[in-house]
């Protein structure tokens, strides 16, 4: 471990660390543009120059490995002069358009020019101008502002795995972008905007909307997939304007997917902002009391078994807890949080991502069964890609199911259960890799588990995990990848059929037959609503999607940005998000709606505030006792061995950009669908 002196402070850093990291260790801030912790080192902006004793000239600290006995100065006249010079060169071709630049207020160049720039320019010649690039519906470009740090080039090559961006031409003519016009076809393209240290790449949907200092920042958790990416919601005067990633090394590092970032404009359309009651076949606006009265009139006199509840994909745990308790009061065992009709939910280890997401960093072989990870959880796919990169391609990925492109080298093994059996019998080449692996893992997707033979597939995947030593000691490589943010929370809370209760498909069939009289849809829109015509449907949620159209009573709930909520991600990690703005119109926080309804029905639930609901959650499941840490689940027996149907696995996510009511209502997501999904489909046909 090299020991060096930075401005008189002695620091010891890990072998392989750079001088820049050593300076940070010593508490010295080093200005930089091209250097980024999560990307390879380019060393081309020269802003991080420091003085090194016995070196003839300043050195670029980001690219200089720290060595024993180095004496570094970060605040000497030489350093200041060098950085002033670099800044002056950078500003030669940079336009002075900060007042109309969206990066203003959060611009590295602006900030560092305050520290190192000179007050006026000595450059009287013509500045160069660069033609803007068309990069698709998400990234807006003003390429004249580009300072050629190549962060975007490295990100798209290394993290996103799409080689679209490059630095073409040379010298003064250098341009960053694609050589021929091309959109950035990646689910992670929004991160380019965060990475760009200047205003060259900015957010197209957010263009000219707000200045960063006007925004109220709220920490929250994403619900667009089951990853639980940590996000920051930026809002102004009751309007969510943008979503940014929050660093969490264990989950999303500092990336988020484009859906996480841009589906929020869906929250401004098709909102349920007041209760509705169906009168003579038409939904009429109503007051809360009228809505509750309509429900009361319907449910009174019904037996518990005639009432059922289904929870949707983006529901918070608080509201599921409240609804579960209400169903208990009704005496109904008919409740289900798996609106896709799957039968998962046995022992906890059978439905969570046991290895954790950061566990991918240790795995050496991974078998993906029935999951299009890139579409279902782009963040996890980028983690797999990172593992492949850091092992220089030694990390092997095998895919069973539909063909999809994980953006790196992989082995496509087969479409369905037959291949699974082959692996289990060791007849496949990939089985040898699994056998030889030290820390093998399996990722089982909903595409494999939401089928009728889901139990048998689960048993087969468990057998594979056993056979190839995926569970040994501390390591548990059996992973289930969910697609719904609420699923693991629902399963942990036991929002599943009780003794003799009906599961989703049975509820729907029962409703079609007339056995189930009342169906309570808690944000559930992805069920077959045509079967609900005979039943009395209560829809509670934020968006006017399929569920609301089938409803007889609509109770307007809050979107995830408008409530304090707990979500459990696919790893079984409970996380809390905070309210950024208040719900629209008459809408209320969801658990409070259920609580109020229980009062109106004279079955008052025993909690008065959210803390009491959360105490109740801890009572039900220890998951909620320790936030932000995934608790280890015991490895037990699960699944039911049986015959598997020969059909191939089909991922439930057909279009990454539209998976839930919010993203379906989003204009930006519609544009992305147009640009990327339809284009790809058209190419396939041609």
């Amino acid at each position: 471990m090299p020991k060096l002196t930075v401005d008189g402070i002695e620091v010891e850093v890990e072998a392989g660390a750079t001088v820049l990291q050593a300076c940070e260790e010593a508490g010295k801030e080093i200005p930089r543009f091209c250097y980024h912790e999560r990307l390879s080192i380019a060393g081309n902006c020269r802003m991080c120059l420091v003085e090194m004793e016995r070196a003839p000239k300043p050195v670029a600290s980001c690219a200089m490995p720290a060595a024993d006995g180095m004496v570094i100065k970060t605040d000497s006249p030489l350093v200041h002069k060098a950085r002033n010079g670099v800044m002056e060169f950078l500003l030669i071709n940079h336009p002075l358009d900060c007042p109309i630049c969206d990066q203003g207020g959060e611009c590295d160049l602006q900030d560092q020019a305050m520290a190192y720039g000179c007050g006026s320019s000595r450059y009287a010649e013509k500045k160069r101008a660069v033609k803007d690039k068309e990069l698709g519906p998400i990234v807006k470009t003003v390429m004249t502002r580009c300072i050629h740090c190549t962060r975007c080039v490295r990100f798209s090559e290394e993290v996103a795995g799409v080689g679209t961006m490059g630095a073409v031409y040379r010298g003064e003519d250098t341009e960053v972008g694609p050589y021929i016009e091309a959109s950035i076809n990646s689910e992670l393209s929004g991160n380019l905007i965060d990475l760009c240290p200047v205003g060259a790449l900015t957010s197209k949907p957010y263009a000219f909307t707000a200045r960063p200092w006007e925004l109220k920042k709220t920490d929250s958790v994403d619900v667009m997939d089951a990853v639980g990416s940590n996000i920051r919601i930026d809002a102004r005067t009751g309007e969510v304007l943008r979503v940014l990633p929050r660093t969490n090394e264990d989950i999303n590092e500092e990336w988020i997917s484009d859906k996480t970032r841009y589906a929020i404009d869906g929250l401004k359309r098709q909102r349920l902002d007041r209760p509705y009651v169906r009168v003579n076949g038409k939904l009429q606006p109503a007051s809360w009391d009228e809505a509750f009265a309509a429900i009361k009139a319907k449910v009174s006199g019904l037996k518990g078994k005639q009432i059922a509840a289904i929870a949707g994909d983006t529901v918070d745990c608080e509201s599921m807890t409240a609804l579960k308790d209400l169903m208990d009061k009704f005496g109904s065992p008919n409740l289900d949080c798996r609106q896709d009709g799957s039968n998962i939910g046995g022992p906890r280890s059978s439905y969570i991502f046991n290895s954790t997401i950061s566990g991918i960093d240790e795995a050496d072989v991974c078998l993906v069964v029935g999951a299009n990870v890139r579409a279902e959880a782009p963040i996890i796919n980028s983690r797999l890609r990172k593992r492949w990169r850091t092992t220089a391609g030694d990390f092997k990925l095998g895919i069973i199911g539909e063909k999809w492109d994980p953006t790196f080298k992989n082995d496509y093994l087969g479409a369905g259960p037959d291949t699974l059996s082959e692996i289990l019998e060791g007849k496949n080449e990939f089985a040898k890799l699994l056998k030889a692996a030290e820390k093998p893992m399996i990722i089982v997707g909903m595409g494999a588990l939401n089928r009728e033979d889901g139990d048998a597939v689960l048993a087969a995947t468990r057998a594979i995990a056993e056979k190839f030593g995926m569970v040994s000691g501390e390591w548990n490589g059996f992973n289930v990848l969910h697609t719904a943010a609420s699923r693991v929370g629902g399963l942990d809370l036991g929002f599943v059929p009780g003794e003799g209760g009906l599961a989703t498909n049975d509820i729907l069939d029962g409703a079609a037959k007339g056995d189930v009289k009342v169906v309570y849809l808690l944000g559930a829109d992805e069920v077959d609503t045509s079967k609900l015509e005979k039943a009395f449907v209560i829809y509670q949620g934020a968006m006017g999607d399929a569920g609301a159209q089938a409803a007889d009573v609509i109770l307007p709930g809050a979107a995830y940005t408008e409530k304090n909520g707990t979500y459990v991600n696919t790893e079984g990690r409970a996380q809390q998000g905070w309210r950024a703005i208040f719900p629209v119109g008459d809408a209320r926080e969801d658990w409070a709606i259920v609580r109020a309804l229980s009062g109106a029905l004279d079955m008052t639930l025993p909690y008065k505030n959210i803390d009491e609901v959360r105490a109740r959650m801890v009572e039900i499941s220890p998951t909620f006792a320790s936030l932000n840490v995934p608790s280890k689940a015991e490895w037990t027996d699960f699944g039911k061995a049986g015959d598997m149907k020969p059909e191939g696995f089909v991922s439930p996510v057909r279009n990454f950009y539209m998976t839930d009511p919010i993203s379906r209502a989003s204009v930006t997501m519609a544009k992305c669908t147009e640009a990327f999904v339809k284009e790809a489909a058209a190419e396939k046909v041609a």
């Binding site: 090559e157 080689g163 679209t164 961006m165 490059g166 630095a167 073409v168 031409y169 040379r170 003519d173 694609p178 050589y179 021929i180």
Partner: protein, 220 residues
């Protein structure tokens, strides 16, 4: 100023590209020079082959895609190389591709006359192509023949020690479809001193009698 390099417009871009068997053989030989897993290093010679094979002496975008496929690398990495090095033409050029050096040594020795002669004789400006497609002229930075300044390169050959007259003579020969003599146009051999050899005269048999050992030590 050198001309601005940009890809040829869509109308000029061919729809497909493939090496002819002859060029394919050369390409395979080049790729085989690099160790396993380092085949991407062949990108530059392969781009050169593509340029030589293509009518108009240029690298179409499809050729870059083709090479990217061949070397298993993202197309953008090939674009970067092809756009960085100015010797790859991104748009078609004339049959005789004239690169006149105008860097300081050539300029001091009269490269301005060479440029002027070309302009006058061919009726084109810098970066332009004659209507018959025979000539394209561009200005380049040092080509490394300063001792024979001024000079120009036409296709693969250097023409050195130019004057306005010799430049005109070269262009006239080319117009007739013949090939001018390559190298210095002043009559001197290679890059020896302009007024004859100065050293080692005894060994090259050019004029002076053999000198004794002492004299050879002195100032020749």
């Amino acid at each position: 100023m050198s001309h601005v390099r940009r890809p040829a417009p869509k109308e000029l871009q061919p729809v497909s590209f493939a090496f002819t068997p002859e060029y394919m053989e050369k390409a395979k030989k080049i790729i085989a020079k690099y160790p396993e897993g380092r085949q991407q290093s062949a990108v530059m010679p392969l781009l050169d082959l593509a340029q030589r094979q293509t009518e108009g002496n240029w690298v179409p975008t499809v050729a870059m895609d083709y090479i990217a496929d061949m070397l298993d690398m993202p197309a953008i990495r090939v674009y970067e190389v092809a756009t960085f090095y100015t010797m790859y033409n991104l748009a078609p050029v004339g049959k005789n591709f004239i690169q006149v050096c105008t860097t300081t040594p050539c300029w001091l020795r009269g490269s301005a006359d060479v440029v002027e002669t070309c302009k006058k004789e061919l009726g084109i400006g810098i970066g332009e192509t004659t209507e018959d497609g025979l000539f394209t002229m561009i200005e380049v930075e040092c080509l490394g023949a300063c001792v024979n300044a001024p000079m120009m390169q036409i296709n693969d050959d250097f023409y050195e020690d130019l004057t306005a007259d010799t430049t005109k003579a070269i262009l006239d020969t080319l117009k007739k479809g013949e090939k001018p003599n390559v190298g210095p146009q002043s009559g001197r051999k290679g890059c020896e001193p302009i007024d004859g050899p100065k050293v080692l005269k005894a060994f090259c048999g050019c004029g002076a009698a053999p000198q004794d050992a002492d004299a050879s030590k002195g100032d020749a």
